[in-house]
């Protein structure tokens, strides 16, 4: 058999990159440095129409100066870009579509810009590829969404283009690796250019241009929750979670979703957790950003390790001084890495627990609302039972043993199940129901013309729901009918809960599928803020021995 290869050039990408570099040459000063004032010209020189472009928009750190500059390029020269980026937070991330500079979008999460995305979709200003999880999107960077040009952010650079991303490394390594090794162009905005870096996070020969931005990159203290705002109801749910789930399954490795519910749990470990004698038995290894509310648990010896997706403003010194717990470089500062942390969150932990907005009678859970295309970031990867998991652990096995459909699906083989726990109040602020017959995700799919309903956690992955009414232990349910009854049984006075059959709820309580606070032996009168190890941000500073330096907006002194 004779094979005949095609005839073509095999290094067009490289040649194209060289040509772009030639266009950019006039703007390069010393080494790889380009003046801030030449940035727009630089972008016009290296970006071509229809390019896939990544603006480093992370959950926290933002390449905000480069985003602003991209908005200023001439749409006659640069247009129809395909933006591939994990998070859209800044108005500029959408302005590029408004101005006709960009056309298509693939993303993971959009936070404050979610309403505008929905609006642009309807107006035809934006073409949506897909809403991914972080890991899916990073994966596709290496498959079919490789950026041609990446605009990233770093704390410092040297003249050779070596970057220090330190505490706020986040997505940078994943983006740069995908871009550079497929002959793409990497531009970094940095807060500072120095002669010597504390350490090298991104080697200089993976970076083409460095711009010192006029202001340090924008970063939001996204994971800071003021203990003063935790409610008694959140304390109650936290106590239920610790006793009914953490203690019950002896969960050692886990991720906490963002929010006051989980902040309450963190602050209950040194008090209620201690009282239950759970120290050392639960909550040893976290995949988690450096939550300030975790400080009391760390200081009282609960926590063995924490790996972080990103940093958190004000936690730098505390984390650096706790190198036994956090992942700290030889220079003494932490390195975060969202890609690795997400991988760990998907495969290597036994439990994900977090809040949601809506749960339906099937156990599907979503934070989607009718007019916002927001995405879910990393929650679906952590909030699922990873099919590829092949290591076992106590909590995973126990949850698997309870799984009533075990033998029907895979016979006698022993297989565990990840705990995926949703915390919900039957009614939230302004009496918005936490349980609905139909998720708003359906309306959103219709409004934004999405091919599938944006569900954060599918019913078959969800193992437990905690409301103030009780905990539903869903794996124990033998069929959908029983699962729905269990959900209705803890849905209180919502439309879903009103349909509960009191007899069936009673039966499920007897079977241990529903446990109320009383069933769990929790004295409701103790569920108040006095249970919290820290009552306000100042207490956290005291717990940290002065190492935690809260951002100005969280201070009341």
């Amino acid at each position: 058999m004779e094979y005949k290869g095609i005839t073509r050039e095999w290094d067009t990408l490289k040649k194209d990159a060289m040509e772009r570099a030639k266009n950019a040459a006039p703007y390069v000063k010393e080494g790889k440095i380009v003046d801030a004032k030449d940035t727009v010209a630089l972008l016009e020189a290296v970006i071509k129409p229809f390019d896939k472009v990544n603006i480093e928009g992370n959950n926290q750190k933002q390449a905000d100066f480069l985003a602003k500059c991209l908005c200023q390029v001439d749409p006659a020269k640069v247009h129809d870009l395909h933006m591939v980026q994990s998070v859209l937070t800044l108005p500029e991330h959408l302005d590029v579509f408004e101005k006709g500079i960009a056309k298509k979008l693939d993303m993971s999460f959009s936070g404050p810009q979610a309403g505008r995305i929905a609006q642009f979709l309807q107006e035809g200003k934006l073409e949506l590829g897909a809403i991914h999880t972080y890991l899916e999107l990073y994966g596709r960077y290496f498959v079919d969404l490789t950026p041609r040009v990446a605009l990233v952010a770093a704390t410092m650079a040297d003249k050779k283009g070596n970057l220090f991303t330190g505490f706020s490394t986040e997505d940078t390594p994943a983006i740069v690796e995908a871009t550079k090794f497929r002959q793409g162009i990497v531009i970094a905005q940095v807060n500072e250019i120095v002669d010597e870096l504390p350490r090298v996070d991104i080697p200089g020969d993976w970076v083409d241009y460095v711009v010192q931005s006029p202001k340090p990159f924008y970063i939001e203290p996204l994971f800071t929750r003021d203990p003063a705002l935790i409610t008694d109801a959140q304390v109650l749910k936290g106590m239920m979670a610790i006793k009914g789930i953490y203690g019950e399954y002896e969960v050692t490795s886990l991720n906490h979703g963002i929010g006051f519910d989980t902040a309450a749990i963190e602050l209950l470990l040194p008090t209620y957790g201690e009282e239950l004698g759970l120290k050392g038995k639960i909550c040893r290894n976290f995949i988690l950003n450096p939550h300030p509310t975790l400080i009391p648990a760390i200081e009282t010896g609960w926590v063995e390790s924490v790996h972080c997706f990103g940093g958190e403003l004000g936690m730098e010194d505390y984390v650096a001084a706790r190198s036994d717990i956090f992942f700290v470089g030889p220079d003494g500062s932490m390195r975060s890495n969202r890609a690795f942390s997400q991988t760990a969150g998907h495969y290597a932990i036994d439990m994900f627990i977090g809040g949601t907005l809506q749960i339906d009678p099937y156990g599907n859970s979503s934070t989607a609302t009718a007019n916002r295309v927001a995405g879910f970031g990393g929650a679906p990867n952590m909030g699922c039972d990873p099919k590829g998991r092949r290591h076992s652990s106590g909590a995973w096995l126990k949850c698997g043993e309870e799984y009533a459909l075990n033998s029907e699906l895979w016979g006698p083989v022993r297989r565990g199940k990840r705990l995926v726990v949703q915390l919900a109040e039957t009614f939230r602020e302004k009496l918005a129901p936490g349980f609905v017959e139909e998720l708003d995700a359906f309306a959103l799919a219709k409004n934004a013309n999405l091919s599938i309903e944006p569900v954060m956690i599918y019913g078959d992955d969800l193992t437990h729901i905690i409301t103030e009414e009780g905990i539903a232990y869903l794996p124990k349910c033998r069929n959908m009918e029983e699962r729905t009854a269990a959900i209705r049984g803890i849905a209180g006075f919502t439309e879903v809960g009103m349909k509960a059959d009191p007899k069936e709820t009673k039966r499920l309580r007897e079977l241990g599928i529903i446990k109320t606070p009383a069933d769990l032996g929790i004295d409701m009168s103790r569920a108040n803020r006095s249970m919290l190890a820290a009552k306000n941000v100042h207490d956290l500073v005291v717990w940290s021995k002065g190492l935690y330096n809260p951002p100005a907006k969280f201070r009341n002194w």
């Binding site: 803020r529 100005a552 009341n556």
Partner: protein, 319 residues
């Protein structure tokens, strides 16, 4: 409700208006006026669809510290931001005036023991000033309070107690300034214009209202203590506030007069000195002023505990 002993050791900042009122006076001595069972709600809120409270957001009453009757007004910041309307404004004015009535009665009945029985007014401010839902009545009530203060001058000490979440702003900011003695915890704030309005007037670059550290440096207790707008800075314990009231109750009126900030030509002249300093200096931040008064490292002051702060702080010299 916590017991009195529990209250004494509780955070003043976290306490509600009724807890503060009870804890500021001696154990089991508080009698509330227009208490919840009287159900004296605002008649103006229901038509606007706004929630009501049985005490209209202000707890008023009388207690004792030793033999001193203590007339207490305690505002609840969680109810419409502690704002003053017709009913709670009336309660406040009536309670302050009762102190004068009591003083007269005691002078008559206990002429030899007046010093030990002299009444005191304690006002726990937690308010943004006028309640917009009944703005005109609230505004007029403010003027009545100032009028009542002037009647009490030299007869009954009036003490501001400030250390709750909302702080003391708007019209009540100058009502507090017009009292004899001001007691605050570190969390307390007193001002006239709220931070959001300043930001709106001056722009975010000049004053960022979300920068809480800046807000505290501008209107917070430590600043007020340095410029002598706060007489006592105490730890955040209801019992500590009670102890200061007990101390003030026994201070002679002429000494009380010296603790004031405003209320005479001499005091106005002293304040004009401070205004001149600020006008000449044009401080970007209160810390410039702290430095001027001899605090070498002003940025450290907010980080210090109350006890540490009191040890090292340098204050404006009083004229």
């Amino acid at each position: 409700m916590k017991s009195w002993t529990e209250l004494a050791n509780s955070s003043f900042f976290d306490a509600n208006a009724r807890e503060r009122a009870l804890g500021l006076v001696d154990k089991d001595t508080f009698t509330e006026f227009l208490s919840p069972i009287d159900r004296y709600c605002s008649p103006h809120l229901p038509v606007l669809g706004a929630a009501v409270e049985f005490d209209d957001g202000t707890v008023t009453g009388v207690g004792l510290i030793g033999k001193h009757p203590v007339f207490v007004v305690s505002m609840e910041g969680k109810f419409i931001g502690g704002a003053i309307g017709e009913v709670n404004g009336g309660k406040m004015v009536a309670t302050i005036r009762l102190a004068l009535k009591a003083a007269a009665a005691i002078k008559e009945q206990h002429p030899d023991d007046y010093a030990a029985r002299r009444p005191l007014v304690a006002i726990s401010f937690e308010t943004g000033g006028v309640r917009l839902h009944e703005a005109n009545a609230g505004l007029l009530a403010h003027a009545e309070v100032m009028d009542a203060f002037q009647d009490c001058r030299g007869i009954v000490p009036i003490v501001s107690v400030v250390g709750s979440k909302v702080g003391c702003f708007g019209g009540m900011g100058f009502v507090a300034a017009a009292t004899d003695v001001i007691v605050m915890n570190e969390e307390g704030r007193i001002g006239l214009t709220g931070p959001e309005v300043i930001e709106q007037e001056m722009g975010k670059d000049e004053f960022d209202a979300s920068n809480k550290a800046l807000v505290y440096r501008t209107t917070g207790a430590k600043h007020k203590y340095i410029i002598q707008d706060c007489n006592y800075l105490v730890e955040d314990k209801i019992g500590d506030f009670h102890n200061v009231l007990a101390e003030v109750a026994d201070i002679p009126m002429d000494e009380i007069e010296k603790m004031r900030r405003i209320g005479s030509l001499k005091l106005v002249q002293e304040q004009q000195g401070l205004v001149k300093l600020v006008g000449d200096m044009q401080p970007k931040d209160s810390m410039d002023l702290w430095k001027h008064f001899g605090n070498e490292n002003p940025a450290e002051l907010p980080e210090l505990s109350t006890a540490e702060f009191l040890k090292v702080v340098k204050r404006r010299e009083r004229a």
